[in-house]
Subunit: 135 residues, 4 copies
Amino acid sequence: MDKYIFELKMKVRYYECDMQGIVNNANYQHYLEHTRHEFITKIGINFAELHKQGIDPVVARISITYKAPLHDGEEFVCKLYIEKEGVKYNFYQDIFRLTDGKVSAKSKVEIVCLTNGRLGESELFNKAFAPYLNK
Amino acid sequence: MDKYIFELKMKVRYYECDMQGIVNNANYQHYLEHTRHEFITKIGINFAELHKQGIDPVVARISITYKAPLHDGEEFVCKLYIEKEGVKYNFYQDIFRLTDGKVSAKSKVEIVCLTNGRLGESELFNKAFAPYLNK
Amino acid sequence: MDKYIFELKMKVRYYECDMQGIVNNANYQHYLEHTRHEFITKIGINFAELHKQGIDPVVARISITYKAPLHDGEEFVCKLYIEKEGVKYNFYQDIFRLTDGKVSAKSKVEIVCLTNGRLGESELFNKAFAPYLNK
Amino acid sequence: MDKYIFELKMKVRYYECDMQGIVNNANYQHYLEHTRHEFITKIGINFAELHKQGIDPVVARISITYKAPLHDGEEFVCKLYIEKEGVKYNFYQDIFRLTDGKVSAKSKVEIVCLTNGRLGESELFNKAFAPYLNK
């Protein structure tokens, strides 16, 4: 059974590859961020709105395991599921190559919410994420 | 006689190079922007402050001629001089490789000032740039 | 009548926006490059293959006029047409916001072909581009 | 006593900041990569040379803990020390803000060496890193 609750298909762009002919490591973090944002937008949260209200979700910690490289023009899918742990939301985000189905990278992204700069629970996020939490 | 009024030395970073083994074209625009910002900061203008006051300098037009590529780890210098033309400030910004002194790229960046979203003269910029204008 | 021969729809990613809340100027060049590459791939040209044969298309000159900014999450389309001028291929590439149809940026990208580092006509490109040239 | 064996001072560039007005998370990975490369170059290793010989050091895993954000124009220093663990080289890389000395980010970057695509010990790296290993 599949634990993932959201996925986004993308395609490697030439400028994302470095001299080794593969996607530069930092760009995986861009893919992961973009996927999270698309998910968060889909469930009705508007970042710019939040920021005006003094609410800023931020990455507290990220770990990425690189398994198999992505190449120029290659299509891939980034899948995610979420768990809550104390005040943190842990996003588990995995990237799969569409060419052969292989895992390209596995990651855990720990998000916390700052309200006017102070760490704490966010009613808004708790409500929005509730239907999507992995149990 | 040298027309340049400001210069910034930089060094190519690995991730700025693409599969051809040279700096990706878009990154030259980053180098040019960073050099302008360092110049503008040096003459006492604070971007974040301006933005709060509703004043935003923006690029209206850019043209870059690529002459000789920059390579990983290569040192270069970005030099600039400014001319005023109507409401525009034209930044002429040239990049030279330090390894052989060759011109790597020549550019003209046309900056205009938006005050609360409206194009017009900015007293603040006019005063700040006056001592540096090329005549 | 429409002169464009290829178009690619994209969506602004959060990390492409800067502190002014709009897409950073340099990222337009990424959008333009990605669109050209998708076009070139579509007509059967493989960059990595070419590079191995010593053939490298490079940007000799680019000019971009910025008309209206792109915002986080905004969808846009990048359209292009091509003209040949001497040894150069001129790519005219315009970006339109899908939210209101407004032109966001207009550009001209001059591409030349290096064969083992020497500038010249490329039979391969001439043949591949022939059906697509604007007359 | 200080365990760090190499450090590199840098300054935040405007385009590295996102709409929250702070450096985008992915750019820390660029800072870390650039610092490692400067260190590796300093001890006499040439990446392009290695790549031609079929030797590619790659990141197997990275974890970054974000402590305090970096802002536009802010100066910081990236320090590192290395430990060996099996075939891996673990780079411990920490970023400190120069404005207040605060830790901005702490990271562990696990590097492995591929020789013609196969994971294993690299005599060359073992010899080059030996004088710098933390014991």
